[in-house]
């Protein structure tokens, strides 16, 4: 894959500059998290969902505090009440959205339009909330993205992608990531995303090529397994191999999905800088696929009880594939300005399933 090439260039550069690699370390355990999770899920249900805001803070604190880099852990500071407020607003918006469509399609369109226009602002607020409430070594992260840029990244470029039959989708994706990263900071040191539009296009095109290849291969396979000649063999083959073909399709989408997300994380984090420090990311697509399949089976076979174990496994894998190539001492950062942010944006974004987290 072309992305790997870009990524390995990064390594050599790091070596030449004599940077020291520090991997992220994740110390969470499935059983430990299971106990915390089940108690919190139970309390959330018994309190009709009100407690879920507190549960979310505990979950994130468990994840953050188990994430270590250079012998210090991260922490999450979100206030449950702010999250609860955000959730209530999100539910109201969700109900308004669904109900308006049921009552009158035109009213539904109007509500959808208003929500669509508000979404970039909400996403911006959610990024601000999330970063402001994250800390490492006692220093807060921060997000200083402007509203106008948020509208460009979350509405303008995606709209462009829509109008160009998704030809501009990789460009839009790169702009969204750029907006997220280039406006983020740790203390008062800014993040910088160096992943190019070209890199995104190469990744998208590779994925597309694999999908098209599979789609072209299928009729050939069907013809080979069918009887008769020409079109006849295709039809009988498709009929007899029907379930088998579906299986191949599902498998190939799983494989492409894992390749895509692995290389996407590598592309984005492998090309991110924080001051003089660089990040690296070496997610193996094969491992990712294996974890996804086994997690899926585990969750399905245990009726969801495996969920906390699955979450820990996935997080450990993703985090421990990453690290910082530190130039000098990580302790040299000094604290930057802090800002207040409300939780509404984050919760709304989560409810509407627009997950743009890192």
């Amino acid at each position: 894959m072309p992305v790997r090439h870009q990524y390995s260039q990064g390594i050599t550069m790091q070596d030449q500059l004599g940077r020291q690699e520090q991997r992220f370390e994740f110390t969470g355990s499935g059983w430990e998290y299971f106990k915390i999770w089940i108690v919190n899920v139970m309390l959330s249900i018994v309190t009709l969902g009100i407690y879920s805001a507190w549960a979310k803070v505990r979950r994130l604190q468990y994840f953050y505090r188990n994430t270590r880099l250079a012998d210090a852990s991260f922490d999450y500071h979100g206030q449950p009440k702010a999250i609860l407020k955000g959730r209530i607003i999100a539910i109201v918006l969700l109900v308004a959205y669904n109900a308006s469509f049921k009552i009158n399609p035109i009213l539904g369109m109007v509500v959808a339009l208003v929500l669509g226009l508000a979404m970039p602002w909400l996403l911006m607020r959610s990024l601000r909330f999330k970063l402001y409430n994250s800390s490492y070594r006692g220093l807060r992260f921060g997000f200083s993205g402007e509203r106008r840029d948020a509208y460009n990244a979350f509405l303008g470029y995606p709209a462009l992608a829509g109008f160009t039959a998704y030809l501009a989708a990789p460009l839009a994706h790169q702009r969204i990531k750029q907006y997220q990263f280039d406006n983020s900071r740790f203390g008062n040191t800014a993040f910088k995303l160096n992943a190019t539009v070209k890199g995104f296009y190469l990744l998208y095109l590779s994925a597309l090529a694999v999908i098209l290849g599979t789609l072209l291969l299928l009729p050939v396979l069907a013809m080979l397994s069918g009887t008769g000649a020409g079109l006849q063999s295709l039809i009988t083959g498709l009929k007899s191999a029907g379930p088998f073909i579906v299986l191949i399709m599902v498998a190939s989408f799983l494989i492409v999905g894992s390749l895509f997300s692995a290389y996407m994380q590598n592309l984005v984090w492998g090309n991110t800088e924080l001051g003089a420090h660089r990040f690296f990311s070496r997610v193996s697509a094969r491992r990712l696929l294996w974890i996804r399949i086994t997690n899926f089976l585990g969750v399905a076979l245990t009726l969801g009880l495996y969920m906390p174990f699955a979450a820990i496994r996935m997080l450990r894998f993703k985090l421990e594939s990453m690290g910082v190539a530190a130039s000098g001492d990580l302790s040299e950062f000094v604290s930057g300005q802090q800002q207040q942010a409300s939780a509404t944006g984050e919760e709304t974004a989560e409810m509407f399933d627009v997950d743009i987290s890192f």
Partner: protein, 356 residues
């Protein structure tokens, strides 16, 4: 690593961060009266315990002691910190205990399963019914007309019954005395559908779609009336709206819960669970029809009779399909087979007409 043997007071080693820079400083913590003492080799700070926020335990994650001014200490020695805090009378909270105990985890699991089962069995139908009963008429009208539109487009054909016969059935149905409290204006919509076979269904707005195939199934018009009354029961009890509400609630919860795992997993249970709902609702509609028939001095056995015929017709179609599996592949997945959503037909017949 925590308690130095030379000192009689428990000491805990920690990493101190000042909140201004990312540099960490190794410190030793101890308690002195009502103060927390921070010591390095060369210096000493003192904080009133009331101004220190001590984070709760969360698995084996480091605990944080945050100071009013902004700095904090990261402690990894859990036993040492607990021992030190025990002197000050700080106790572990109930939530802390629950989150770290296996018996509580199991108890939570049991409680969770019981709560979910109870919510699904009682709360969901109750909530859906309450909501459906309050649904404005405009919504019911809209849902009825859009459902009929969709069915006309995909599954239904015009009826072949002549207008005189249609009028006759309409009159017979209108002639019937409804149960007190009936709300909707009913009218029969005549259609046919060879694909669906003998069938009738109630739309939320009070329209009852009656298929020619069902009319052809019996010579006794009162049996048709019995089916129409059964459908009226569905309408009056707002079953369609309740089904929609219930399945979307289940779907929403599943999607939220399984969100990142698979949307496939999320939709399957909602579909599977619907069968159970229908059975309860069928019984309710049967009872409604039974009461209306009795009110009009007709026998509930009429409904039992037509149910019997429907099942026979259904079995016959199944058999035919088994004999020719290749043909009409698509049609075997008929949109809404009258009997597949009407399980335990014999049981229902027994309830309606014990003599039979």
């Amino acid at each position: 690593m925590s308690i130095s043997p030379s000192d009689s007071f428990p000491q805990v080693s920690a990493a101190y961060f000042d909140g201004q820079t990312a540099a960490s400083k190794a410190v030793r913590l101890s308690i002195d009266g009502s103060d927390l003492l921070l010591r390095t080799d060369s210096a000493e700070w003192r904080w009133p315990l009331g101004e220190v926020h001590i984070s709760e335990r969360l698995g084996s994650t480091p605990r944080l002691l945050t100071f009013a001014g902004g700095g904090h200490c990261e402690v990894n020695d859990h036993a040492g910190l607990d021992e030190m805090l025990a002197q000050t009378g700080v106790r572990r909270g109930w939530l802390d205990r629950m989150q770290h105990s296996l018996p509580w985890a199991l108890a939570a699991l049991v409680l969770l399963v019981v709560t979910l089962a109870a919510a699904y069995r009682y709360l969901l139908p109750w909530g859906a019914e309450a909501l459906a009963m309050r649904m404005p008429d405009a919504v019911m009208q809209k849902m009825g007309s859009s459902t009929l539109e969709a069915m006309d487009r995909f599954a239904l054909k015009p009826s072949k019954l002549d207008t005189a016969r249609q009028q006759e059935l309409t009159d017979e149905f209108a002639h019937l005395q409804p149960l007190p409290g009936a709300k909707f204006n009913y009218h029969i919509v005549f259609r046919s559908s060879p694909r669906m076979g003998p069938n009738a269904f109630a739309l939320p707005d009070g329209s009852i779609v009656l298929l020619d195939e069902l009319v052809d199934l019996t010579k006794d018009d009162n049996e048709i009336i019995a089916v129409l009354e059964h459908e009226r029961g569905h309408v009056e009890r707002r079953h369609a709206m309740r089904m929609v509400l219930q399945s979307s609630a289940v779907g929403l919860v599943m999607a939220w819960y399984l969100g990142d795992v698979s949307s496939l997993l999320a939709t399957a249970p909602a579909v599977i669970m619907q069968a159970k709902y229908s059975r309860d609702m069928e019984r309710e509609a049967d009872e409604y029809a039974e009461k209306t028939l009795q009110l009009n001095e007709l026998s509930p056995c009429l409904l039992a009779g037509i149910l019997d015929k429907l099942e026979a017709a259904h079995l016959a179609t199944l058999k035919k399909k088994e004999q020719q599996p290749e043909a009409e592949e698509k049609n075997s997945h008929a949109v809404m087979d009258y009997l597949s959503s009407h399980p335990a037909t014999q049981e229902r017949i027994g309830l309606l007409c014990p003599a039979k």
